[in-house]
Amino acid sequence: MTRDPNSHPRLAPGCRLNEKSQPQRVLLMPERALRLSGPSLEIIERCDGRHTVAQIIAELQKIYSKAQPQKVEEDILGYLALLQKERALDFE
């Protein structure tokens, strides 16, 4: 799926992270929940309607500077596509 790098991903209505104080962070959505860890949590925390796709990629490339930048970008785009398929994301 091609994605406009300047679009702003935002969690769709009725999709939210559980509280920070919980031992296992999850993305809550109607009738399901996705377990999050490491990069998946870093990505979703930035799907706030303010970060662009390009900014999310740049920030994660910094956090995971030991990984290949190209690989980080591919993984993020793949994950965003999955979240959209789940109807967990809007692109604004």
Binding site: P13, G14, N18, V26, P30, E31, A33
Partner: protein, 372 residues
């Protein structure tokens, strides 16, 4: 004490809070038991709030407020606040009937995450026939109000022999409302639906056509509306993993506080259900006889006991085994490997041989009643 050798209980993820059995609808396939809890026995606000906290402590992530019609409880907003304070995701499963814009706002402010609106069909007259009430126009208004808020909206169409031919209209209606999610739920044959089964079971032809339409819709709407559906039990090759396995993922509390492993469990003779008014939820989940009864594999008969699929479907549905073949420990008779599959096949043969009803025919439904 049953189940000494049962595996330790995993934690439940979903919690179904049946707040009341009162309902303005009288659906012919209602999943409530034939014997409904009385209003005077309904749990108090304080008890529900405590139970919601206990559920969250047990590991539950999501609560479905359902009924009956949960809007019949004047303290619903307070219960949603209690759920959110406990860290739970709050869904409301509703007919939408006793709702107005102001009450919806109150529920959203309280922290409602998701509203699931039931539809009995795509057309006014037939939808009203299955629900035994004038409801359809109000549902359309409710969908419009929900869309003004940032909460998830699911449309839930209950489908069966008498409305399956309206499927394309239901999809058109869905597209015009544009919810986050739509479920096409075949009637499950328990409770009131079991009593009305011969009028509700779809024909093979209807089913095949509906699956074609739904598959295409799923593709077409991908990324916009999440389309969910399952093949109805009686036509499936293998049984569903009912409730994700007995006592594994889901806990249901009735209006009067009984803790059940599923909606229909009360039909199984000999099971004793604990009440949340007299025991902590954790104790009920981990140790009560009713939840232990069909955990693990010790209770299984052949062919389940040695079947490769036993960790996938957990033997199917215990209530269905009881209702169809009279033995709650038997393999779910919808399974093609069940020695009693012939009973289901006979029911299907009759369904598929019956001539279609003329359009003018009046069906004698058994409508769901209301508790005292």
């Amino acid at each position: 004490m049953s189940g000494m050798s049962n595996p330790p209980a995993s934690n439940p993820l979903a919690f179904i809070a049946e707040l009341t059995h009162r309902c303005p609808l009288h659906c012919v396939y209602c999943s409530n038991p034939l014997e409904l809890d009385r209003r005077s026995r309904e749990l108090s606000t304080a008890t529900w709030s405590r139970v919601l906290r206990e559920a969250a402590e047990l590991g539950v992530l999501q609560v479905d407020f359902t009924g009956g019609e949960p809007l019949a409880r004047p303290d619903l907003a307070e219960l949603i606040r209690a759920a959110r304070a406990a860290g739970l995701y709050a869904s409301l499963i509703t007919s939408g009937l006793p709702l107005d814009e102001k009450r919806l706002e109150e529920l959203v402010r309280a922290g409602l995450d998701h509203l699931q609106l039931s539809f009995q069909g795509a057309r006014e007259e037939s939808a009203n026939e299955f629900a035994g009430a004038d409801a359809h126009a109000q549902k359309l208004r409710v969908a419009g109000w929900v869309k003004k808020h940032r909460i998830a909206l699911t449309l839930n169409f209950v489908i069966h022999r008498q409305n399956l031919d309206q499927l394309e209209d239901m999809l058109e209606l869905t597209k015009s409302i544009a919810p986050s999610r739509v479920e096409f739920a075949h009637v499950q044959y328990y409770g009131w639906a079991f009593a009305n089964r011969e009028r509700l079971l779809p024909t093979r032809r209807q089913l095949d056509r509906s699956l074609e339409i739904l598959k295409a819709a799923e593709e077409q709407l991908r990324g916009q509306i999440r389309v969910e559906y399952v093949v109805p039990d009686y036509y499936a090759k293998y049984p569903k993993a009912c409730m994700g396995g007995w006592g594994r993922k889901v806990m249901l509390i009735t209006p009067a506080g009984e803790a059940l492993p599923c909606h229909a469990a009360r039909v199984i003779p000999g099971l004793k259900f604990e009440n949340v008014e007299s025991r902590p939820l954790r104790q009920i989940w981990e140790a009560s006889d009713a939840f232990q009864k069909f955990r693990g594999e010790d209770w299984m008969q052949e062919p389940c006991r040695s079947c490769d699929r036993r960790a996938q479907d957990f033997g199917g549905c215990r209530c269905q085994a009881l209702l169809v073949v009279g033995d709650s420990s038997a393999t779910d008779p919808v399974c093609s490997l069940s020695p009693r599959r012939n009973v289901i096949d006979a029911i299907l043969a009759e369904t598929n041989a019956a001539p279609p009803l003329p359009p003018s025919a009046k069906i004698e439904w058994l409508y769901r009643s209301n508790p005292a």
